[in-house]
C-alpha cells in the first residue's frame, strides 16, 4: 500500500487533549439505549476483528500442525509441534534459510542505501538554492507515480545486456537487483525527507558554518542526527516494501539459492499447493513475523503521518 507521511507527524507532536472526561457518566440506561449508542459498535468490532484475524490464526495453526496437508490444517489449533519448521529448514531444494537471509540482506542493504541517497538529495533540496530545483522536485513527484514494475521487461533486457559486460551485476545477481531497486531510492522518499529537513532551523547550520564547518560536516554532524526519526521511518518503510517485492525479484533471481522469500515461497505453493501446506504455513509465519513486528512498531508514525499528510493535502 502506498503510504504518505508528513514530516511534522514524525516529530513528537504536542499531546492532544481529547474529549476525555467530557462525557457525563450515565449509569441508568436500558439495554436498548446502550445498544443503540454503543452496543452495535461492539458487534461491528467483533465481526470485523474475526474477518481480519481468522486467516492469520489459520496460518499460525497450520504452521504448528505437522499433519502437513491442507485438509489436515482445517481443524484450528488441534496439534502443536515443530515438525513443519524442521521440514522447512531441512529441504535442500528449497533453502528457506537462504531465502530468509537473502531477503534480509537485500532489504537491509537497499533500504540503508535508499536512506543515504535520499538524505543526500533532501539536503541539497532543503539547504541549497539552484536553478532547476523546483523542476527537479516536481519531476521526482511525477516520476514516482510510475512504479518500476511497469518497466519490468526493459529492466530484464537491460540486466541481460549487463550480464554480457559485468556478469556479477547482471541477471541472477543480488547486487544487480539492489541496483535496480535503488532506481526508486529518490522519489517519494526524498519528498518526505525534504519536508522534514526543512523543519530543522537553518540558523543551526549557519552557526556551524561560521565556526568553520564544511558543508559535509554540517550534513553529517548537524543535520543527520537531528533527522534520525525520518531516516528510520523511510528506511523501515523501504524494508517493508522490499520484503514483499515479487515481480522484479522473480525476473532477476533465477537460482533458488539466491532467491528472496517472496519468490521462493511462491514457488513453494505454486508447485504443490495442498501437500506441503503445513511447511509453507511455517515459512509464511517466519517470513511475516519480522515485517509485522516492524510495522506495528512503526504504526504510530505511519498513522499520524497518514492523517497529517491527508489533512494537509
Amino acid at each position: 500500500m502506498t503510504t504518505f507521511i508528513d514530516p511534522q507527524a514524525v516529530a513528537p507532536a504536542p499531546t492532544q487533549s481529547g474529549g476525555s472526561g467530557s462525557v457525563p457518566a450515565q449509569r441508568k440506561r436500558s439495554f436498548g439505549q446502550w445498544f443503540r449508542h454503543k452496543g452495535w459498535r461492539h458487534v461491528v468490532g467483533v465481526v470485523t476483528t474475526v474477518f481480519a484475524v481468522f486467516p492469520l490464526l489459520y496460518v499460525l495453526s497450520a504452521a504448528l500442525n505437522s499433519n502437513g496437508t491442507m485438509a489436515g490444517s482445517n481443524a484450528l489449533f488441534t496439534a502443536f509441534d515443530g515438525g513443519n519448521f524442521e521440514a522447512l529448514f531441512s529441504d535442500p531444494t528449497r533453502p528457506f534459510g537462504r531465502w530468509f537471509m537473502n531477503t534480509m540482506v537485500i532489504g537491509v542493504v537497499t533500504s540503508a542505501a535508499t536512506v543515504f541517497l535520499g538524505a543526500l538529495a533532501a539536503y541539497a533540496f532543503s539547504r541549497m538554492r539552484f536553478t532547476g530545483r523546483r523542476v527537479s522536485l516536481l519531476s521526482l513527484l511525477i516520476l514516482q507515480m510510475f512504479p518500476q514494475l511497469l518497466a519490468v521487461v526493459a529492466i530484464f533486457l537491460l540486466l541481460n545486456a549487463i550480464t554480457d559486460v559485468v556478469p556479477w551485476l547482471g541477471l541472477g545477481s543480488q547486487l544487480g537487483l539492489i541496483m535496480v531497486y535503488l532506481g526508486g531510492a529518490l522519489g517519494v522518499n526524498t519528498y518526505l525527507m525534504y519536508g522534514f529537513f526543512n523543519t530543522v532551523p537553518k540558523s543551526l547550520d549557519e552557526a556551524a558554518r561560521i565556526d568553520g564547518a564544511s558543508h559535509v560536516q554540517v550534513f553529517f554532524t548537524i543535520i543527520l542526527p537531528l533527522v534520525t526519526p525520518i531516516l528510520a521511518v523511510v528506511g523501515l518503510l523501504a524494508f517493508i516494501g522490499l520484503s514483499s517485492e515479487f515481480v522484479i525479484a522473480s525476473v532477476v533471481l533465477t537460482d533458488p539459492e539466491s532467491q528472496t522469500l517472496a519468490v521462493g515461497l511462491y514457488s513453494y505453493v505454486a508447485q504443490q499447493r495442498s501437500e506441503n501446506w503445513g511447511v509453507f504455513a511455517a515459512g509464511a509465519v517466519l517470513a511475516a513475523v519480522p515485517v509485522m513486528a516492524l510495522f506495528l512498531f512503526l504504526q504510530k508514525y505511519i498513522t499520524n503521518g497518514l492523517v497529517a499528510g491527508s489533512v494537509k493535502g
Binding site: A52, V153, A185
Partner: protein, 533 residues
C-alpha cells in the same frame, strides 16, 4: 560542535565562502578513494565494452564517467555533488528503462527474435544439422575442462583433434593415444568415466563441434559418446540474396523484411532477428483475434478491480472509523490493533494464504463455513473475481480505517455541534457536513490508492494467477488478470513464447492510462478544494 577544518580566517568569513573552501584532509581522502574506485570500475567496464566492440554503449559509459568526475572534481556545483548518486540510479533504472520500454514496444523483440540477423543466420545453420550419409566415423573421448565438455576426436587417418560447441576443431598433437591410435587423454583436460558419460548424456549429445568458423563446413556430433559423425547444415545460405535453400526439398526461405526467413507459403524458419516493427505491436494488441478479446476483457476488469477496491475499502474503512470514533468506547485500542493486522501482513503472503483458505477441495472456507461444499471460489470466472475483491478488501480496509479515523478526528468539533444545534440528524450531519470535508482531505489518498490497485500485481498473481483461463486465447491469460499481470505473463510466462515487444507495448498503454488518470484526478482534487474552501 567539534570541527576538523582549521579555525582562523574562515571564522570571520561569511558562510557562503566557507562552502567553497576545500574540505578537510579526511574528507578529501575519502572523496579521492571513492572517486578512484568508481573510475577503476568504469575503466574495467569500458575495456570489456571495447573488447566486445560495443561502441555505442562504450561512448555512453565514457560520457557518464567524465560527467561524474566533472561533478566531483570542479570547485562549485555543490547541489550536483549531493544529487548525483541518487540521480544516477534514477536515470538508469527508472527513466532509461521507461524509455527503453518505449523502444522495445516498437520492435518484435522476443523468443526467436532476440538478436541480429547475422546471429540468426548462424543459429539457423547450426541448428539445422543433418548427418552426412557417407560420413566417416570419428572415434571420440569426452573430456571436461572448467565444467565444459569437449570432444577429443580421432579421425580415421589417426589425427587427433579437440573442440567443443562454439570452439572449432583444433589439432591436439599432445594427446595421449591408446594402442589402436585413439586419443584418450589430453593435458589440461579430464577424461570422463563411462558412468559420467551416462549421467551427462543430454549435455554430451548437444555438443556440436564445428570444423571451422564457417558453419557451412559442417560439424561433428556424437550420438553415443564413443563415435561421432559429420553433420552439415540442411539449409544453405546465400548471402547475396539473403535466402536459405533447403538442400533436400529445394524450398527457399527469403528475408521479407519481417525479421525472419519466410517461404512462399508463409512458413517461417523458427529463428528470426530483432527489427523495428513500428506500431505493429499496438495494432496486434487491438486486432489479433488471439489478443484483442482477452485484452479488452482484462482492461475492463483492471478498471473494475481498481475502482471497486478503492470504493469497498474506503466504505468499510469509513464505516469503521465512524463506529469507533467515540472517545469512551471500551476496547477501542484492542479492536484497532487487531483490525490493522492484515495491513501489516505481507501482501504476497496474504494472496498465497487466501488461495489455501479458498481452495475448493481442501480449503478452510468450504470445509468449515460451508460444510464441505465444493464452491469453486478461484476457478469460476465470477466467483474468482469476487474472491479477489474480498481478499483485496481484507488487505486494504485497515489503511482506509486509519486514514478516515485520522481525518474524522481532525474535523473541528464546532461543526458537529453547530449541526446538532440546528437539529440535524446524525446521518444528515455525516452526509452533508462531515463527508464533504473528509473527502477534501482524503481524495489524494483515494487517487493514490486507485493508482496502486491499478497495478496491484501481488494479490492477483498470488491468489488466482490470473485464472480461470480464457477459452478464446492460447496465451495463459484469464478472467482475473489485470494489465500488469498480463504484461508479466506475455513477457515471462510459460504459455506461449515470450514476446517482449507486445509486453512493452502493453506497458506503454498502462503508462498512458496511469498518467492520464493522475493528471485528471489531481486537477479534480484541486477543484474540490477550491469549492470547499
Amino acid at each position: 560542535m567539534p570541527t576538523l577544518a582549521p579555525p582562523g580566517p574562515a571564522a570571520t568569513r561569511p558562510p557562503k565562502k566557507t562552502a567553497l573552501r576545500a574540505d578537510s584532509t579526511l574528507g578529501l581522502l575519502v572523496k579521492i578513494v571513492l572517486l578512484g574506485l568508481v573510475d577503476a570500475f568504469a575503466v574495467y567496464v569500458m575495456i570489456t565494452l571495447f573488447l566486445q566492440e560495443k561502441w555505442l554503449v562504450l561512448v555512453f559509459a565514457a560520457v557518464v564517467t567524465v560527467l561524474i568526475n566533472w561533478v566531483y572534481l570542479r570547485r562549485g556545483g555543490l547541489p550536483a555533488k549531493y544529487l548525483a548518486p541518487g540521480i544516477f540510479f534514477l536515470v538508469i533504472f527508472q527513466v532509461f528503462v521507461m524509455i527503453y520500454s518505449g523502444y522495445v514496444a516498437f520492435t518484435n523483440y522476443g523468443d526467436g527474435h532476440n538478436s541480429t540477423k547475422a546471429d540468426a543466420v548462424n543459429a539457423i545453420q547450426l541448428s539445422a544439422q543433418q548427418r552426412v550419409p557417407d560420413s566417416p566415423a570419428y572415434r571420440v573421448t569426452i573430456l571436461e575442462r572448467d565444467g565444459v565438455f569437449h570432444l577429443l576426436a580421432t579421425e580415421p587417418d589417426g589425427t587427433v583433434s579437440v573442440g567443443t560447441t562454439g570452439e572449432p576443431l583444433e589439432e591436439a598433437e599432445a594427446a595421449v593415444t591408446d594402442s589402436t591410435g585413439k586419443g584418450t587423454e589430453l593435458e589440461g583436460y579430464r577424461a570422463l568415466q563411462f558412468g559420467e558419460v551416462l549421467a551427462n548424456q543430454a549435455d554430451i549429445l548437444a555438443i556440436t563441434v564445428p570444423f571451422s568458423d564457417d558453419p557451412e563446413d559442417g560439424s561433428l556430433k556424437t550420438g553415443d559418446g564413443s563415435n561421432a559423425y559429420v553433420y552439415r547444415p540442411s539449409l544453405s545460405y546465400d548471402e547475396d540474396t539473403s535466402t536459405f535453400t533447403d538442400l533436400e526439398t529445394g524450398a527457399t526461405y527469403t528475408d521479407r523484411g519481417e525479421g525472419s526467413f519466410q517461404a512462399e507459403d508463409g512458413e517461417q524458419l523458427s529463428t528470426g532477428w530483432k527489427i523495428n516493427v513500428g506500431f505493429d505491436n499496438f495494432t496486434k494488441a487491438f486486432s489479433d483475434q488471439n489478443i484483442r478479446g482477452p485484452l479488452l476483457q482484462v482492461m475492463l476488469w483492471t478498471f473494475t478491480f481498481a475502482i471497486v477496491s478503492v470504493l469497498s475499502t474506503f466504505a468499510l474503512g469509513l464505516f469503521l472509523a465512524n463506529a469507533f470514533n467515540l472517545p469512551d468506547l471500551r476496547g477501542k485500542r484492542i479492536y484497532r490493533i487487531l483490525m490493522i493486522l492484515p495491513y501489516a501482513f505481507p501482501a504476497f503472503l496474504a494472496g498465497l494464504v487466501w488461495s489455501g483458505l479458498l481452495n475448493p477441495e481442501f480449503g478452510f472456507v468450504n470445509n468449515t463455513f460451508f460444510g464441505g461444499a465444493d464452491i469453486p471460489w478461484l476457478t469460476d470466472p465470477v466467483l474468482a473475481k469476487v474472491s479477489v475483491l474480498v481478499v483485496n478488501l481484507w488487505l486494504g480496509f485497515p489503511y482506509m480505517f486509519l486514514v478516515c479515523t485520522g481525518a474524522l478526528q481532525s474535523l473541528p468539533e464546532e461543526v458537529n455541534e453547530a449541526a446538532r444545534m440546528d437539529g440535524a440528524s446524525a446521518w444528515r450531519t455525516f452526509t452533508a457536513i462531515k463527508l464533504p470535508l473528509l473527502l477534501v482531505s482524503v481524495a489524494p489518498l483515494l487517487i493514490a490508492s486507485f493508482a496502486f490497485n491499478f497495478n496491484n500485481f501481488n494479490v492477483i498473481y498470488m491468489l488466482t494467477d490470473g485464472g480461470p483461463r480464457f477459452d478464446n486465447t492460447t496465451a495463459n491469460i484469464g478472467h482475473t488478470d489485470i494489465l500488469i499481470t498480463m504484461v508479466y505473463e506475455i513477457a515471462f510466462g510459460t504459455g506461449v513464447g515470450r514476446d517482449y515487444g507486445l509486453a512493452s507495448a502493453l506497458s506503454i498503454i498502462i503508462f498512458i492510462i496511469v498518467a492520464v488518470i493522475s493528471a485528471i484526478s489531481f486537477r479534480q482534487t484541486k477543484a474540490l478544494e477550491d469549492i470547499n474552501g
